[in-house]
Symmetry: C2
Subunit: 192 residues, 2 copies
Amino acid sequence: MARTKEFEPEKALEAAVNVFCRLGYEHTSLDTLMREMGVARQSLYDTFGDKRALYLKALRHYRDGNHATLRDLFVAKKSVREGFSKLLFDLSRETREERERGCFLLSANLELGSRDQEIATLLRRNQRTIEGIFVDALKRGQAHGEISPRQDPTALARLFIAAIQGMRALARLNHDRKALENIATAALASLE
Amino acid sequence: MARTKEFEPEKALEAAVNVFCRLGYEHTSLDTLMREMGVARQSLYDTFGDKRALYLKALRHYRDGNHATLRDLFVAKKSVREGFSKLLFDLSRETREERERGCFLLSANLELGSRDQEIATLLRRNQRTIEGIFVDALKRGQAHGEISPRQDPTALARLFIAAIQGMRALARLNHDRKALENIATAALASLE
DNA sequence: GCTATTCTAGACCGTACAGTCCACATATGG
DNA sequence: CCATATGTGGACTGTACGGTCTAGAATAGC
């Protein structure tokens, strides 16, 4: 009945995630999106809606991937402490490209969180989700005697969230692996 | 010889800091700047240069103020531990307005750090300066037996920097004083 | 008070960009 | 193989904005 698409929507969305990550919402023009996604203007509007709708889809896609890797990190059988350690040290070892790409959720927060209510709500929910994942893992770690039971799991989870956001912000500016490892080590010491 | 200015350059610059903080570089139009600063278009160009030059002046002004308050926090006679405590808990207690204003240096990092070399350099230098202030304070704290000598002052300083950036990012999105206090408490526990 | 200088107000211009429209290409179903 | 529906490419449009220019107002020295 109709011509087939010449692009894969999934791949195209990932390309959108990439370019929005690197450039932010405002600095990403439709021309750039078309080029990076390999999608014609009209197809882009037909498939994803306008720029903001595409941004939201990209943001949700990124967030879902993020949650999946976090949940995977803390699947029941693994050591909780090792999970956090891997999370933080992987962050320290990111390539230049990954660092400069930065965290989509952080850049969305700073660029649009105070102006777009829908995005702000999404980001707040995301924070609660991640906090939940961390708290569950920490409680399990305490139950297994892996982590000191004297610490408040919620407070610890929040410290990790803040430290990770801070690391992401620093990493974007500076390629100083040692500095990131310092932060990772110091944060992990809180589990003692 | 000539007509006198109808605005105070100092006050106008502070107004610029405020509006750039809240809206970022790209989202701040010259019309907004003129209105908030109370300066006519031509006077603005004559006094501060173009938009980017004004942004840089505002950024330097903010940074200088920041360094001054930090140095004041750690003047020799005060307790180092109390200094960090005040720093972090003051952050937790910011008003809604202050929170939404956010940190100019953080937003400059995310918005322009990867695109404007001059700004990136300024921000990197700023990071080193703050790290230096923190390291000096921590060493003094260790010398006075206030802080455990087993910790690496540089690593601790970096953890605090990351935690503060994280707090600022979280605070911008959520007014959850308890969450911020949790982070402050957990970070301060690293001094034990 | 006249002149020179610097202020303010706002018209004007070029560019960049999001979004729409249109012409043409291509593949599916009958 | 024709009709239909959906794809691609690119021209077009309206708007927003940074930056410049011009005209008139106001103040200081002579």
